[in-house]
Amino acid sequence: MLKYIFKRILILIPLIFLVSFIVFALMDNAPGDPVRTLVGENMTEEQIEQKREELGFNDPLLVRYGRYMKGIFRGDFGKSLYGNKDVLKEYLFRLPYTVKLALLSIFFTLIISIPTGIIAAVKQNTWIDAIFSAGAIMGLSIPGFWLGLMLVLIFSVKLGWFPVYGADEGLKSYILPAITLGVANASLLTRMTRSSLLDTIRQDYLKTVRAKGLSERKTILNHAFRNALIPIATIAGSQFSGLLSGSIIVENVFSWPGIGTLTVTAIRTHDITLATGCAVLTTMFTAVTLLIVDVLYAFIDPRIKAQYTGK
């Protein structure tokens, strides 16, 4: 198992190289001159040129890239061009907000999807099933950010129950954005739960279990559901790791102090260092989250554990 984890962590290295190279190359060709924007209006051409030389912007791409990578492996992601703030510090300061939002969101997703999915499966082809399935399709079709806007309109502006933006009011601030992020995931997960349960119910081993004399309730709960949980957990896990980057637009709607808004701000202000740092760090954290999810997964499905340990 440790070998498997180690191999996965090892893959992160080429990943970091790849991401940073792509971002670097892209940002290099981006419009606008970061140095010029940085120093403002009141410098002469010579001073700008001098500044450029100073900051190392005249060096070729690969050299700058090499310098940057060396820095990363020392833990130095550079300083943002604006405000000269340490990129890593800024990022880590904002990361908890996004993570907490993601956790609350996946929590909502789970408590909505799993019961609804189970009910829809148990009452398959009845009107209850039809309603839940229709609801799921609707949920998948609503643009997340629009849902956020509507929720804010109704619950914050008109009803005043929640703050309109920001993370200042504690748990109350988290509710609307978490729901917004959770709806699309919940819709998908409900459908997954339903189909997974329907699949498991048809399995042969349930016949063996019933023939043992186990009550119907325990048969479904301990055996059918336990097995149905496996694909559900996979999807929920990857949904969670996708929330770290997927929250960018919703964070914007709620002016959320997370890494999403940090990334967008960085891009908008041509802050190459900050933008590159955000991209690399977000990719890394997403990959690590996915690894954690995959390892946890091994504890639910013994066959996967065998794969990891190589039995």
Partner: protein
């Protein structure tokens, strides 16, 4: 002669199965209506006069008989803009996915056929690319090359190429190793013939289903990026961009935010229904 008879028989079977799903049929109808609206809007509305011209006197009027969806902060008729904006979402959605599917499938199928270390290298690269969050890629690409419709299409398309590449390779591999392919080869069929006659038809179904869901995903994403200002540029009335424009006025003029959003939702809903219907119709093993 016999071959084409079988193909049309299959197609009509699929259509009949599709028709059974009422939601899917409604979705198809709605989708066609939206396409018609998009086409008609281009003809009926004059871009300058109806869509972009500022009419200060008519600013921020609520929905009424003259302006079904009201007017925005520059006095432009929202209904006209929403109708006109349909074309962007549809185009971007469809073209992005076509780019994805074509490039992705080519790369994937190529890798599967070529095999050896080339295949390994390509697949490793794809695995790595898949670990990069798509949103980051798109935002960066659009930002670098400028916010425009072709760039957005390209960016959205490229961000899902790895996904389709992996699927295409898997399809080619499974079908390739099937016994009936070996039988076909034993009878002397050339590699190309095997590809077209056996691999392609089997690989198409899952691709079609996935492509449909990707189209609706792309439409939502495109609206989102435009909302951030990193998509379709102003003053084009793309639905996401309209939502961004109307945001400062949400408190007192909520209708500016409701209609474009509804438009996105209805379009995406229609496409999702079609996708569901297709999936049920194409999968013979699916038991409801």
């Amino acid at each position: 002669m016999k071959k084409s008879h079988k193909k049309t028989r299959n197609k009509s079977l699929i259509w009949r199965q599709f028709k059974k799903n009422k939601g899917a049929v409604i979705g198809l109808v709605v989708f066609c209506v939206i396409v018609v609206i998009a086409i008609v809007s281009v003809i009926v509305f004059d871009f300058e006069a109806d869509i972009t011209a500022v009419k200060a006197a008519d600013r921020l009027l609520p929905p009424s008989k003259e302006h079904w969806f009201g007017t925005d902060n520059l006095g432009r008729d929202v209904f006209a803009r929403v109708c006109y904006g349909a074309q962007y979402s549809l185009l971007i959605g469809v073209v992005s996915v076509i780019i994805s599917v074509v490039f992705g499938s080519l790369v994937g199928a190529f890798a599967a056929f070529v095999g050896g270390w080339i295949e390994t290298v390509i697949m490793r690269l794809i695995e790595l690319l898949l670990m990069i969050p798509g949103i980051l890629l798109v935002i960066m690409i659009v930002y670098t090359f400028g916010a425009s419709i072709p760039n957005l299409m390209l960016a959205l398309g490229l961000s899902t190429v790895p996904h389709f590449a992996r699927n295409a390779r898997a399809s080619v591999l499974t079908v390739r190793n099937n016994e009936y392919i070996e039988a076909s080869r034993a009878l002397g069929a050339s590699e190309l013939r095997v590809l077209f006659k056996h691999v392609l038809p089997n690989a198409i179904s899952p691709i079609l289903v996935q492509a449909t869901s990707r189209i609706s995903g792309c439409i939502i994403s495109a609206a989102g990026y435009s909302f951030l200002g990193l998509g379709v540029p102003s003053p084009l009335p793309e639905w996401g961009a309209m939502l961004s424009d109307g945001r400062p006025f949400i408190y007192n003029y909520p209708y500016l935010e409701i209609f474009p959003g509804l438009a996105i939702m209805i379009t995406v809903l229609a496409i999702n229904q079609i996708g569901d219907g297709l999936r049920d119709a194409l999968d013979p093993k699916l038991k409801r």
